[in-house]
Symmetry: C2
Subunit: 170 residues, 2 copies
Amino acid sequence: MSLRHALLGLLAEHPASGYDLLKTFETSLANVWPATQSQIYTELTRLADTGWISVTAEGPRGRKEYTLTDEGLAELRHWLTETKPQRNTRSDILLRVFFLGVLTPDQARAYLTGLADLSQQGHDDLRRLVDSVDWGDDDLSVHGRIALEYGIRFNAMRREWAEWAATQIR
Amino acid sequence: MSLRHALLGLLAEHPASGYDLLKTFETSLANVWPATQSQIYTELTRLADTGWISVTAEGPRGRKEYTLTDEGLAELRHWLTETKPQRNTRSDILLRVFFLGVLTPDQARAYLTGLADLSQQGHDDLRRLVDSVDWGDDDLSVHGRIALEYGIRFNAMRREWAEWAATQIR
DNA sequence: GTAAACATGTAACAGGTTACATGATTGT
DNA sequence: ACAATCATGTAACCTGTTACATGTTTAC
C-alpha cells in the first residue's frame, strides 16, 4: 500500500500533523496519489502503532505532530530501493476508446477532441505553475520540478495522440 | 464503476461467457482495466439482475452466454457520451520520485534509469505487437490500434522523461 | 458574535484482490 | 488414465470514498 509510504515520505521532510499532511495531499500530491482526510488520519494511527512514526508534540485543538522514526526511514528506503513499482494502471479514458464503435463517428471524434482540449488545458496549467514557482535546488524543489515536468510532457503527448486518433475515425 | 461498462462494451461486440470475457481481460484489456475472475463473475450476475445483459444460451460445463440488452446498450452509450472520465490517476512510479531525496544520488539515478529501461522495453514490446497484427478496418481493429498507439507514445514519452530526470539529480 | 480555518475521529459502503472450492470436457 | 482447459461461484480481507460527528482557535 503506497499511502503508507507517501506519509512516511512526507514526514521524512519534517514533522507534521495529520492536518498538515492533508493539505499537502490536496496540493502537491493531488495528481499523483490522492487521499482523503479519513484515510490519512486512519493510516497515521496505524503507522504510529507499527512504530514507523511517533507523536512528538501536541498542540492546540488536539493537534498531534508526527515524526518519522528510524524504523520508518528504513522502511521508506526499503520501499524505494527494494520493491518494484507495479500498481495496475487503470485508465477510464483509454477504456472508453475501445468502445467508441458503439457511437456515431461524430460522437467518437467529439470524445477524442474533447480529450485533446482537456490535455491542452492540463498542459497549460502546469506550464503556468512551473513558471510561477521560484525553483530552488533543495530536494523538494528538484523532485517536485521533475514530477511536474512529467505532467507537462504527459499532457503534451496525450493531446497529440488524441488529435491523431480523431483523424483515424472513419 | 467502470468494470460494469467494460463488460457491457465487450458484450456490445458479440455475446460471450464469463470465461470468454475473462480471457479478453487477460489479453487486450490487461493494461487498461485489469479485472480478476472473481470480479467478472460477480459483476455479470449483478448486470443480469439489473437487466443490462441476459443469459441467452447455456452450454456444457455450466457455461452461460450473456447478451447485451437494449437497456444495456443504452447505458453503455450514456456512459460514453454523458459521463466524464475522471478516475483519479494514482501513480506509484511518480509518487516515488517525490521521495528520492532520502536516497543517495546514485540510488536515485538508478531508479530513474531503471524506469527508462522499463519504458524502452514496453515501447519495443508494443511496437512488435503492432507490427505482428494484421490490422483491418473494423471497429475493433481501429480502436485497438488507437489504444496501442497510446501505449507506444506513452512509453516513448516516459523513457525520454526518465532519462532527462536522471540528469537533473545533483 | 460569527464565519473560516484548524483539527481529529468513526461508520457504512463500494470496489478490488487473494484464496478456496468444485466440477465437466477435451485431447493425448 | 491423466493433464490441460473450460467453467463458475463464494468468502475473507484490504483499500478507498462518502458521510456523519464533534469541538477549538483565530481573525474580522
